[in-house]
Amino acid sequence: MDQALFYASAALAVVSALVVIGQRNPIYSAFALILTLCSLSVIFGLLGSPFIAALQVIVYAGAIMVLFLFVLMLLNVKSEEDVPGRAGRTLAAIAVVLVAILVGQAGYVLWNLAPVAARSFDASTRKMAEILFSPHFLYVFEATSVLILAALVGAVALAKKDA
């Protein structure tokens, strides 16, 4: 059952990720990306991390993708129309080859790893909170709020009319 769910979600994630990069209309890309994020959330749940799975849906599929869709609709984005010229096509072929080499090399290394058995562990929200608010990560955690504030101020300053 878990096996079937895992492979179904993995297939859905890969197919919708291919739609993200194959689609000329960015709105459809955004919706396909939401599908990828949600199927990844299922996989996070199957890997025994319910907290990350929930964050994935709430923060990524919820907040970040709504921001993307908001900007897409605000700017009234059209589809990419023209096919790339001769130079563009050569560069695209080079990019495909380079990415294929990267994935091939990393895949070769990963494929030859000794199979790892998953250890049982408790990744509940309570455990995550205990770690995040432990002295080890507390200052980093508080620093992220400063980062978010800086990003907020920066985004407003950058997008202002007379900037």
Partner: protein, 104 residues
Amino acid sequence: MTGEPGFVHQAVLLSLVLFGIGALGVFLRRNVITVLMCIELMLNGANLAFVAFSRAAGTLDGQVLVFFVMVVAAAEAAVGLAIVIALHRHKDTLDVDAFNVMKG
């Protein structure tokens, strides 16, 4: 639960594939916003690898790292999209090839 396969291997390979697709999209797409979405795809591939290795190691450190990656991704998306809006205001297009002012 100890000793069950737990999809670690498959999850790492899936993360690799997602990262590759995202990298390909960064090279192939011409729309700035789609390029940003492909970067999110790559970040998610990395997140999946973190969660899978955290599962294999039996510690929560990988998950904490995923949490911070998500925070930084949110900040990056906010600032990146603000820059996109500013660029659109200047050039009235979102084609990455149009933004070559700094080209030497």
